[in-house]
Symmetry: C2
Subunit: 377 residues, 2 copies
């Protein structure tokens, strides 16, 4: 539950916001990026690595943890924090996004969504109530309501029905987890597809329910960057100023920085971690594909402007060798760097907002990452 101290808006720079969010496991300084820890670990790194790169909060996936090792098992271990050795805040998603991706393996109804496990084919039902019960078993600091994330090509009628269902589910969610329950915060999710008036309708409906924060969903589903920004520009101003705003599943550095400019506070994406494992690394000079032959004998650090363990210790030549040899250490060193890059960027953004020079800060990155394409996963 939120208290008057849960969210503090420190300052703004145009519409960009610098705030703090207090959770049961510590305070998150925003704007903040949340590394994704799908199966009880951020892939390839440990909790010490996460702290060293500057992670304040991580995300856990309800769908995956429900299926393996099981939320009840994690509850009996003392919760997800204790199970995985991470003492900081954890936000858990509702599992809905993963379930809706299981085309053909799921059945929607007013009650919820029934699906088969991708691991063993077993049948499961996610309802607004059950996903909160799972997230409470995990010991989540910030829980997300079950929503329907409409596909990018959804037509107006589908989207309208979908957002209405999402609102009914949001009402059931708040009822299942009333405001004075437990230490976990509960965030609502605005949907509405790519129809500005439906985004507005959804925002009005969802923000009329007293959640502890509001997320914008449905914006990492394959749209162009411009479509994303258009929807964001419509929706963000409709969210309460005195509560945290979370843009789900976004994104690439410029996507995040543009969303910060539009007033969003929190972000998550598998991009830095997944790209790390694919050898695509983010640096102050742009993206580096570490397998390129030009790095074969390059003794310079991956990013001379970066202070992470990888950049302090190893050369591009070594990182390329590890990648080409498919060595396990490659995944970890690359992940450490990409997370450090994203988290340093967020630290820079926070400082720039405090110093009222956010747009200039954004411009520095735009000079490096000016590809203009939405890059969300």
């Amino acid at each position: 539950m939120a208290t008057p101290e849960t969210f503090t808006l420190h300052t703004t720079d145009n519409t960009a916001r610098r705030a703090s969010l207090v959770t049961a496991h510590g305070t998150v300084e925003t704007p903040a990026f949340m590394p994704v820890g799908t199966q009880g670990t951020v892939k390839a790194v440990d909790p010490v690595d996460l702290t060293n790169v500057g992670s304040q909060i991580i995300l856990g996936n309800t769908y995956h943890l429900r299926l393996r090792p099981g939320d009840e098992l994690i509850r009996r271990r003392g919760g997800l924090h204790r199970f995985m050795g991470w003492d900081g805040p954890i936000l858990t998603d509702s599992g809905g996004f993963q379930v809706f991706s299981l085309a053909g393996l799921r059945t929607m109804s007013e009650e919820g969504v029934e699906f088969r496990s991708h691991i063993d084919g077993s049948k499961h039902l996610f309802t607004p109530e059950s996903v909160l019960s799972i997230q409470r078993n995990l010991g989540s600091d910030i829980m997300m309501v079950l929503d329907e994330c409409a596909p990018h090509d959804a037509d107006r009628q589908y989207t309208e029905n979908s957002l209405a269902l999402t609102t009914r589910w949001a009402e059931r969610s708040r009822k299942a987890y009333p405001e004075d329950t437990g230490p976990g915060l509960l965030f609502g999710i605005v949907q509405g597809g790519f129809f500005p008036d439906l985004r507005k309708m959804s925002a009005e409906q969802i923000t009329s329910i007293p959640f502890d924060g509001y997320a914008i969903g449905g914006l990492s589903v394959g749209e162009s960057k411009q479509e994303m920004l258009d929807m964001l520009a419509v929706t963000a101003p409709l969210l309460p100023k005195d509560q945290p705003r979370y843009l789900m599943g976004v994104g690439a550095p410029m996507d995040i920085l543009d969303a910060v400019a539009l007033g969003m506070d929190m972000f998550d994406c598998v991009l830095p971690t997944r790209n790390a494992r694919n050898g695509t690394l983010y640096t102050s000079q742009g993206k580096v594909n570490i397998k390129r032959a030009e790095y074969r004998e390059d003794d310079s650090p991956l990013d001379p402007a970066c202070g992470c363990y990888t950049c302090r210790t190893f050369s591009k030549a070594y990182l390329r060798h590890l990648y080409m040899a498919r060595e396990l250490l490659s995944y970890r060193l690359n992940t450490v760097h990409n997370l450090a890059f994203f988290l340093d960027m967020m630290q820079g953004a926070r400082q720039a907002i405090e110093e009222k020079r956010y747009l200039a800060f954004r411009e520095e990155y735009a000079g490096v990452f000016a590809d203009g394409s939405a890059e969300t996963l």
Copy 2:
């Protein structure tokens, strides 16, 4: 090259030895176990992990590094230490063992052994001279001569010819790298298969060449544990007392402890690292197969007697979950623990020899690892 201070025998307990070996990158306290870093990394761990678990010296594989990324490339990077960020001693093998494993892809001659790369099929020739040149490019602290490791089922005639060739190659090796050359030490290798008199003959021939240390080769090729110990009991006493003795490719905890009792000083094996990746973990209570269902809800540390990061931080239940979910973190946490177990065991062995209670120390482990089978890789 060795100096009078290179090797110091501090004390003995029966035939077990407690000594120090000085290399260009630091001193190795023996008996010592060397984690195997085949491709410029000990699989799944970084140099900080290696230091934290108590590694004094690691092994690099000449065959693999020659093929990828290439020894000349590593020389241009300042050598293997700098390339991989490991400042401690490195022993490199000759590459012979790997080449002789390439059945059908290699051709032996007096000159050396020609083979095709397992990576791209390219042709290469290893000679006694060329493998030293490669090891010098790597900047090895302890180089090994090229030898022929006869198969376990080799007959007497084959073995006799093979050891004679190994001796001629050893003579060429010393000539190619005379005693006053460079900072690297050069070790000879005793062969002779499973014929006691041939082991004796090889030991006499090899120790008549002034190497900086002597290894026993050919004893991790599929023999029974008793066969290994029989050959070791014949060969070890024939090695100079005032020089280091290295048993190559061995082995499981009891194999190492038995070889220490017979007077061997140095060991290497992929067993702790490879088994870690397969979920087989060594503990003070014996071997643990972490995927077993009995650990599903086991909140205890993997080994309560172990102080490694894995045991200090995580439960068996979490390690099992990571293993079952095939998470990358599983490989690292398991490797950290298995290396810590082997290196703690060596530390215990050193202390026990100093305190003249080595056989009692060995008995403690025998009570836990009493499976009697040779377990070498």
